[in-house]
């Protein structure tokens, strides 16, 4: 055997995920029909995932994938029986000129095509779960089974979600023209929101076998890093990447081996990932002075202030409060206001924080949200009012939407009651 040596499955997986959006955009460029191209591209990725670890990575992996995907696309179109499909066949089957794909040393991806693909997957006509699923598959190169496992739903359910999303994208007449001006800003905001949701989903979830149940927070960081390479001058893209890194840095200290939550104040800061903190801090420090400060940059800046403090007591709460004031102006949101209330309490005392929370209770939905009640419990405890704090912790535990949170809050209630 003269071919390249067998390679690790993880290495192949990594390469395939990098190439996934490039293969899909090349196919859609050539043949149109987003729906069919996405299926074909996914099949090519699966073929490579089984063949390459044994046979080695081909000299031009991107060209290999595009060739295989194109063949699959042809097979698929030929096997379609409907009249409509035959009409489409006429357009698709016209032979492409030359070899598939540029040589291996060519510029790997057309930046604008990759962006257009990402914008398409986060199309405003799709619900957020559909945007997330489609982005992970079409841009992230994850299989339907992997995405289903990551979200804990049956593969059939996820397949339906993705299929419906692809039909919607095909229906909007997917093309590679990029929006401009205000529309571009809005579409990019939708993309960042999807990436942030993926990150949060992963941050909340438990660890799994990385190859079968992908770590969504790592995937979100990978995709945001990729987007940052495409748009290095965009402050909010850099801000989101920094926010993810600075938040993910605390992951090792955030839970105990039994899965229970450790609040920021009690985390072993020695366990924080200093490399991620350094990278995130460098990113946010470089981008903040540019002036166009948005909500992700501000949240990253807040995370950076927390991360640089060696103890909870060392935390520069005055700076954090100032950043929350700016964040409230930039992106008013009841949860931002709630976090700000805690910062107010740290700077001006628990009573001042409780007054801010009291104002938030005017919103009925907020008044019964477990986060508000838990924050109120914390501040009441700081104020020495343990009786009402215990009652609040218990109430918050009842309303919590995740098991570790519920356990943590119930534990606080029993600690104060006991």
């Amino acid at each position: 055997m003269t071919g390249p040596a067998a390679v690790g499955r993880g290495e192949v997986e990594g390469l395939l995920r990098e190439l996934a959006p490039q293969v899909l955009t090349a196919l859609v460029r050539r043949y149109g029909q987003f729906h069919l191209c996405e299926d074909a591209s996914q099949e090519a990725l699966l073929a490579a995932a089984t063949q390459w670890p044994a046979e080695g990575i081909p000299g031009n992996p991107r060209g290999w994938l595009i060739t295989v995907a194109s063949r699959r696309l042809m097979d698929q179109v030929r096997s379609e029986q409907s009249r409509r499909a035959r009409e489409e066949l006429a357009a698709v089957a016209s032979p492409p000129s030359g070899r598939f794909g540029p040589p291996a040393d060519a510029e790997p991806a057309d930046r604008d095509d990759s962006l257009a693909l990402l914008f398409g997957c986060c199309h405003p006509d799709l619900s957020s779960p559909s945007q997330i699923a489609l982005t992970l598959r079409a841009v992230g190169g994850l299989s339907t089974a992997q995405i289903a496992a990551a979200f804990g739903v049956p593969e059939a359910t996820m397949a339906q979600r993705i299929s419906r999303a692809k039909q919607t994208i095909s229906g909007t007449g997917f093309d590679f023209s990029l929006p401009s001006g205000a529309e571009r800003t809005e579409r990019l905001r939708a993309v960042l929101h999807v990436l942030y949701l993926v990150f949060n989903e992963g941050y909340a979830a438990s660890e799994g076998d990385a190859l079968t149940v992908p770590a969504l927070s790592e995937e979100a960081i990978r995709l945001t890093r990729w987007l940052h390479r495409l748009l290095p001058d965009d402050g909010e893209v850099a801000g989101l990447l920094a926010l993810m890194l600075l938040t993910d840095a605390r992951r090792p200290a955030r839970t105990l081996p039994d899965g229970s939550l450790v609040p920021l104040a009690e985390q072993d800061r020695q366990k924080w990932d200093q490399a991620k903190i350094a990278e995130g801090t460098a990113l946010i420090s470089a981008v903040l002075p540019r002036g166009e400060v948005g909500p992700y940059q501000l949240q990253a800046a807040i995370a950076a202030v927390h991360d640089e403090a060696t103890t909870m007591a060392d935390t520069d709460w005055t700076q954090i409060l100032g950043l929350y004031d700016l964040l409230e102006l930039a992106a008013p949101n009841p949860f931002t206001a709630l976090n700000r209330a805690v910062a107010v309490a740290m700077v001006r005392g628990p009573q001042a924080g409780l007054e801010v929370i009291a104002a938030l209770e005017a919103d009925k939905r907020m008044a019964r949200h477990h986060r508000l009640i838990a924050a109120r419990a914390h501040l009441r405890e700081l104020a020495g009012d343990t009786g009402t704090a215990a009652a609040d912790y218990l109430d918050a535990a009842r309303r919590a939407t995740s098991l570790p949170e519920r356990r943590y809050l119930a534990l606080q209630a029993s600690r104060l009651a006991g």
């Binding site: 779960p129 289903a148 496992a149 804990g152 739903v153 397949a159 149940v213 939407t401 098991l403 519920r406």
Partner: protein, 120 residues
């Protein structure tokens, strides 16, 4: 977020529905199921057998003991359940409100906090 929708009933209630209306009722429920399976939000829809077919299982000295039961105190018991995975509580409430049965009786909705991870 996952949600459980529950519909309650009993034999008396089912018997009160005229036979001629069943095909229509089933068709409406099937349409509901198809609609939300297609959106990828309905993970599963399950109808339960009658109360008299339910059993209680316990272990005594390491041996399983099966008895009839549960001899419910409540008049109505779970007739069917639906497992949803959707974006928000608002969306889950919207889907519950679209349940054909919601015309007759309230549909119970419970957020699901945790589950055993699927084994791939």
């Amino acid at each position: 977020m996952k949600y459980l929708l529950l519909i309650y009933g009993n034999q008396e209630k089912w018997a009160s529905i005229p036979a001629a209306e069943w095909p229509e009722a089933i068709a409406r429920q099937d349409a509901f199921n198809r609609k939300y399976q297609a959106t990828g939000e309905l993970i599963g829809a399950y109808g339960l057998a009658d109360e008299v077919q339910a059993r209680l299982v316990r272990r005594e000295d390491g041996q399983p003991v099966v008895t009839d039961g549960p001899y419910l105190e409540t008049k109505e018991y779970i007739a069917s359940f639906y497992l949803l995975d959707c974006e928000s509580e608002e969306r889950a409430l919207q889907i519950a409100a679209d349940m054909p049965f919601a015309d007759v009786d309230p549909v119970e909705i419970w957020p699901i906090l945790h589950e055993a991870k699927p084994d791939l």
